[in-house]
């Protein structure tokens, strides 16, 4: 089984570093970047299975970043994670293809479970493409 790679995108540096550390402890290959632009940049060069994306960021915000990710690498699953929860952006995010929408603070166990579910979805999606069925 190939390694589970997670990209975390959040402009709050403290939160970012803590989360990367905790995920690494649970044996996930976690990488953190502090902006939407940097996220798109790294996604162009490296493969990730799931992206944890903050909604409110200066510059390219979460929703815009999500749109771009879904445009460039549609199979990458995205979990929106935000301290500024709003039903509006939740609905918008999921309509745009986000896998889940989670409010901070989120327990690390919960998060890992969601990451696993998101990754499972990616694998199912890839399997479906390989077997030739139609892709949404």
């Amino acid at each position: 089984m190939s390694e589970f790679r997670v990209l975390i995108v959040d402009d709050e540096i403290d939160f970012l570093e803590t989360l990367v550390k905790r995920l690494k402890k649970r044996k996930l290959d976690a990488v953190g970047v502090a902006s939407g632009e940097k996220a798109l940049d790294i996604l162009d060069r490296e493969r990730f299975d799931v992206v944890i994306l903050d909604v409110r960021m200066p510059g390219l915000d979460g929703i815009e970043t999500l749109k771009e990710i879904k445009r460039r690498t549609p199979l990458t699953e995205v979990i929106m994670l935000t301290g500024h929860a709003s039903v509006e952006s939740g609905m918008q995010g999921m309509q745009l293809g986000a896998f889940d929408y989670v409010i901070k603070p989120a327990g690390i166990d919960d998060l890992i479970e969601k990451l696993n579910q998101a990754r499972e979805r990616k694998l199912l999606h890839e399997e479906r493409i390989r077997s030739g069925r139609n892709v949404p």
Binding site: A85, S86, V87, G90, M91, M94, Q95, G97, A98, F99, D100, Y101, V102, I103, Q117, E120, R121, L124, H125, R128, R133, N134, V135, P136
Partner: protein
């Protein structure tokens, strides 16, 4: 006052398979035909040996007649089935056309209103141009009105874009990807999201989750959209101060149900019929295109379930979603 939407299978989908000429029942009838032919035919030889050629001939005649009569009736049944399939297809087709017709008139209305505003803004801008032009001797007031019109045009174009995008979303088939889901967890996640906004308006969320619900094999993000939509509607149905109740329960051996209830304004009986129609909305223009519930209905149908609504004006509304489950022990 109840309104049911059918479970998947009764909702016409965009692709349809060609009808069979011979149904499974047909092979059974052929077997029957063979039986009533061969039985008397088989008796011909022993009859010939025991009773003589006349009886043998009789047996063979019976066999022949049985064959022909059976064949005749089987033919009639086959033709009747063919007719029925043709009519079913016509019915589905006309239902689809009716649905498309309804959809188109809904779209037309939704788009014509923004177009009307754009048309008027253009007329006004032409008038402003005629009055003072937009050169250096244009009064400041005129320029800002001109600008306002431009902004309004942009706004209305955005509105149209939202409508067409949502429509494309609605029409595009989203094939569900099935995963095992803990319903209580999924629903609770969405409840927590809505709770923050609900609390500000004195709306409480009560949970009534049945423990030990079986894991449901369904599409998690699609289901999340449905739950969030229902919770959001429930929240806004309540003016100020009220309760949203979420319950989950087993429904029979292989299904699960969840309900979202609100103590809000309720839905008048004349609207209950249209509640799952695309574009039906009671919100003011520009705010919400009304595609939410129709999308929910579409998603739930795709997931093999059904959604229904119960409502009383002044008392509240309850949406009930029924989903088939596959009982899986433990986690994936």
């Amino acid at each position: 006052m109840r309104k049911e939407s059918g479970p998947a299978g009764t909702c016409p989908d965009i692709d349809f398979t060609p009808y069979p000429i011979e149904e499974p029942g047909q092979s059974r009838l052929r077997l029957f035909q063979a039986l009533i032919t061969l039985l008397p035919a088989a008796l011909a030889i022993p009859l010939f040996l025991c009773a003589g050629p006349i009886y043998a001939l009789l047996a063979l005649s019976v066999a022949a007649v049985s064959f022909m009569v059976a064949g005749y009736y089987i033919g009639r049944i086959a033709r009747a089935n063919e007719q029925k399939c043709k009519l079913d297809l016509q019915l589905i087709q006309s239902q689809k056309l009716a649905a498309i017709g309804e959809l188109s008139s809904g779209i037309a209305h939704e788009i014509n209103n923004p177009l009307a505003i754009i048309g008027q803004e253009v007329e006004w801008m032409k008038h402003l141009m005629k009055e003072g032009g937009c050169g250096s001797n244009t009064p400041v007031g005129g320029m800002s009105e001109f600008n306002e019109s431009l902004i309004e045009i942009g706004r209305q174009v955005d509105r149209c874009r939202e409508i067409t995008h949502k429509l494309l979303d609605f029409a595009r088939k989203k094939e569900p990807l099935i995963q095992a889901v803990d319903m209580n967890r999924l629903i609770e996640d969405m409840a927590k999201l809505v709770e923050k906004e609900a609390r500000q308006r004195n709306v409480l969320i009560e949970r009534n989750y049945q423990a030990d619900l079986p894991l449901v094999r369904t599409d998690p993000p699609l289901l999340r959209q449905v739950v969030l939509n229902l919770l959001n509607n429930a929240n806004w149905a309540i003016e100020d101060r009220g309760v949203i109740t979420i319950s989950t329960m087993r429904a029979g051996k292989n299904a699960v149900e969840f309900m979202v209830s609100d103590t809000g304004c309720g839905i008048p009986p004349e609207n209950l019929d249209k509640i799952f129609d695309p574009f039906f909305t009671t919100k003011p223009p520009g705010k919400g295109t009304g595609l939410g519930l129709s999308i929910c209905h579409g998603i739930i149908s795709k997931l093999g379930g059904s959604i229904s609504v119960d409502s009383e004006v002044g008392k509240g509304t309850t949406f009930t979603v029924h989903l088939p489950a596959e009982t899986t022990k433990g986690k994936n």
